[in-house]
Subunit: 333 residues, 2 copies
């Protein structure tokens, strides 16, 4: 059974998930090769290689766990958390723990092994975003859970072990530290000014524009003022709202459009880098409707020499956001 443990100093929760470690005496995890087309469990016709699907979109019908799907969501075969069981929150002296209850799912974004998010059509990307939403709405009903993380690792350097384009979902009984920090920061700003900090950022950025990469009617792509990583880019809805899963249809449409544009520009400017894409949305266990503002964060992985940042969370970024935005704006379509 995986466990959630809390560091007594910082209050940070971590998942200790020893079941994922297949060979107990092999502690080197960096030798996993990326799984390519030949053995891909995400390709149509190989549905039996994954756990049974929890969601699929099938424009042209077809029965569950058979080919014919456009997007398919399945439980992770090597989950970091498990759905069955009780939380059993307990203390061990000074320490706090609970069982690693939660969901760990894979969103298979396309049946086509060769497609990437950047090369999908806008409606196809929108379908992926809808799958994110539908899984969130479903999992929210489980009262043991507090937060849902949706993220995508693209490329081996970003942590993807399967080539076939996919995202992951982790539903947690706690609110992770980095979400907590964002929420607390947004609360402090709101307490002081009665305004959302992200709305304030948007207002200022849309006047001067040195860090705006692109925008459309609903969404702004922005290099943040203090980025941790070179070419880090945020996709923010112009309209204030704390929850990704409640966004109206036209915002998903425009988000899909701007995400495609951004990924294409990143691919062209930076030679198809590996990247992480993370959905930032409100924990569903608390009311953050006034203070928080959902958004996506894209982090191209341009450096492998970030050893220092790895353990400290303190970042040295070699590219200013103004330079990154200028480069991404200048990319010819």
């Amino acid at each position: 059974m995986p466990e959630l443990r809390k560091d007594p100093v910082t209050g940070r929760w971590v998942i200790i998930s020893t079941d994922r470690q297949k060979r107990p005496n092999d502690f080197r995890f960096d030798r996993a090769a990326t799984i390519g087309r030949d053995q891909c469990p995400f390709c149509p016709g190989r549905e039996s290689l994954t756990p049974p699907e929890v969601l699929s979109y099938r424009q042209h019908g077809g029965s569950a766990n058979r080919p014919g799907w456009d997007v398919r969501v399945v439980p992770n075969k090597f989950p970091a958390l498990q759905v069955e069981g009780t939380l059993d929150r307990e203390g061990e002296g000074i320490f706090d723990r609970m069982n690693g209850i939660g969901a760990h799912e894979v969103i298979i974004e396309t049946p086509d092994h060769g497609r990437t998010l950047a090369s999908m059509s806008e409606p196809e990307i929108e379908r992926v975003l809808s799958a994110y939403r539908d899984r969130m709405l479903d999992l929210k009903q489980d009262r043991r859970l507090r937060h849902i993380l949706i993220f995508k690792n693209h490329g081996a350097a970003a942590g993807a072990t399967l080539e076939h384009s996919h995202s992951q979902l982790i539903a947690l009984p706690i609110v992770p530290d980095f979400v907590r920090e964002e929420i607390e920061g947004a609360r402090r700003h709101f307490a002081e000014k009665e305004r959302c900090v992200f709305c304030d950022i948007l207002r200022q950025e849309l006047v001067d524009r040195p860090r705006v990469v692109a925008e459309n009617a609903d969404i702004v792509a922005l290099a943040p003022y203090a980025p941790r990583f070179a070419f880090e880019t945020w996709l923010l809805p112009k309209r204030h709202a704390s929850r990704f899963e409640h966004a109206p249809r036209h915002e998903y449409e425009n988000l899909a459009r701007l995400l495609k544009l951004l990924l294409q520009r990143v691919d062209r400017a930076l030679e198809r880098p590996a990247y992480n894409l993370i959905v930032h949305t409100s924990p569903f266990s608390e009311d953050t409707s006034e203070v928080y503002h959902w958004h996506l964060e894209l982090m191209p992985r341009l450096t492998s020499v970030a050893g220092f940042e790895w353990g400290t969370g303190f970042y040295i970024n070699p590219t200013s956001p103004e330079e990154a935005a200028r480069v991404l704006r200048a990319v010819k379509p």
Copy 2:
């Protein structure tokens, strides 16, 4: 001029250091090869390839910037911060910034290109720790500075671009986020219990001992209860003290002894992994003497598939600390 910028949501400071980027149109940083013996600027006889030394220990004499040194400290040739100038703290609307004033130095730990911290003698390791201390005591006198980070990246996978064994020092005019979090957490614990949280951890761990790796008269090597990384290990002084740089001689001796033992066991159990080693000590701009407890954190880099953690600071660890401690305890000398 490098810049320090604060994220308006989380309050996290980052360094934007564009001068380090040598080729303005090449944004891929992952192609830097590790510099080996042939071109090593840290080997004796090549002192002119580094900026002039700020400290050296020379048991057998010899003049500055000439061979004969045992430990040598030089400014980083590609510094993330610069010493000259004024902070010029300023707001840009909602944003906060200051000039990237600070020091960025390299501690060359040994004249011998082939030695590692694990293969040095205990007195040699103690000499490295003394160099850390001496540079801290010197840089603390600069009233513009608030905190000193000392860390070591060992191996290319941990971010080292030079093979020759060395550590780095970054002196900052701000307190980095991860230090702030630790201090705040320790303050909360102290406010509630009138006890240091690290002392409480030690008291509990030294009774049950499932996570104790090794100990001697002054220092305990401990797999923390909620480790972010497989085989993460902390080296804590038994005596409460907030500042590494004020430790008495016998604590450095025993720290050197336990660090050597730990690194040798890690090398043997995990096939000489890359690792990051970080000194956690109090910022010198504030009084944390009752609440904080200095220590070292060792993080072997066993996985390159941590894409998810990279952007989120949320960790999934495949090895329990009890298992890690058991494995490290069982290593035959």
